[in-house]
């Protein structure tokens, strides 16, 4: 059995890469992809802790399944917003979407 800390390190690396992408990328679609990476890292963490700490209790896997649901809803609404913004501003670069900037 691969020890727990290896799974946690892989999930931490995925989360850090996702954070860098969210903060540094310029197009909204790329930012959304990096958010998916971060959510996936969280799910890996949840399932790893479930397997090593409470494998007889389904709460860890059930929680991970709910994170899947929220990720799917977030992707659908986020991409719909990106399409709506692209239709009006002809751009998905987040620097150009500054209508609410003071």
């Amino acid at each position: 059995m691969v020890p727990l800390w290896m799974y946690l390190l892989v999930a931490a690396a995925l989360f850090a890469i996702g954070i860098y992408g969210v903060l540094a990328r310029r197009t909204a679609v790329a930012i959304l992809m990096c958010i998916e990476l971060m959510l996936n890292a969280v799910i890996i963490n949840l399932v790893a802790f479930w397997r090593f700490l409470t494998p007889q209790n389904m709460s860890g896997q059930a929680f991970a399944a709910f994170v899947f649901v929220v990720a799917a809803a977030e992707a659908a609404v986020g991409l719909a917003i990106i399409l709506a913004v692209y239709r009006t501003r002809k751009s998905v670069v987040v620097d150009d979407i500054n209508l609410l900037k003071g």
Binding site: L9, A13, L14, I19, T27, M33, Q56, V70, V77, L83
Partner: protein, 174 residues
């Protein structure tokens, strides 16, 4: 120290797929390539789920994440045409973001590794892990059991319906 055995090798393969795909997502100039790298990364995650004896979540990962979300992202890239290739991939604060991400990784890494390998660490590489786990049938029962997760399950269904209607309303061309 760690002995090299078959599970460790398989774990390393899936971990390299997951992290390498994630690096491809962040670094690729073309958004379509980024979406394909995202599929590679999510596939690595599905392999990790199999190694954690959660086969249902691995199947959901392949079906929902790779089959639905990644394809949805590819559709969005195609619908926002002219945006797949941008001259500058990252914004002006990319170095600050990189420092922040590295600091976060270092903090989490130290917090994860110190209890095992640190001076006061238990030095236990393998803590006692149960051989058997609850299976897919228990997960199915837990999701619809009145004493467990039936209310979050129904709310999740409601959230999905609301998100679907909201996505159609927001993206509709009128």
């Amino acid at each position: 120290m760690l002995e090299i055995n078959l599970p460790l090798i398989v774990f390393a393969i899936f971990a390299v797929l997951a992290i390498g795909g994630a690096l491809g997502v962040v670094g690729s100039r073309n958004l379509i390539h980024g979406a394909l790298y995202l599929i590679v990364s999510l596939f690595g995650g599905a392999g990790l789920f199999v190694m954690l004896s959660a086969p249902f979540l691995a199947a959901v990962q392949v079906l929902v994440y790779i089959g639905a979300i990644a394809i949805l992202i590819i559709f969005a890239v195609m619908l926002t045409r002219g945006m797949a290739q941008t001259k500058e991939v990252v914004n002006r604060q990319w170095w600050l973001s990189a420092i922040l991400a590295l600091v976060l990784l270092a903090v989490i890494g130290i917090a994860v590794v110190m209890p095992v390998w640190g001076p006061n660490g238990s030095n236990v590489v393998n803590l006692q892990v149960a051989e058997t786990t609850a299976g897919v049938a228990e997960l199915g029962i837990a999701l619809v059991d009145g004493n467990q997760y039936v209310l979050p399950f129904e709310i999740a269904s409601l959230l999905l319906t609301a998100a679907m209607i909201g996505a159609i309303v927001v993206a509709r061309d009128d």
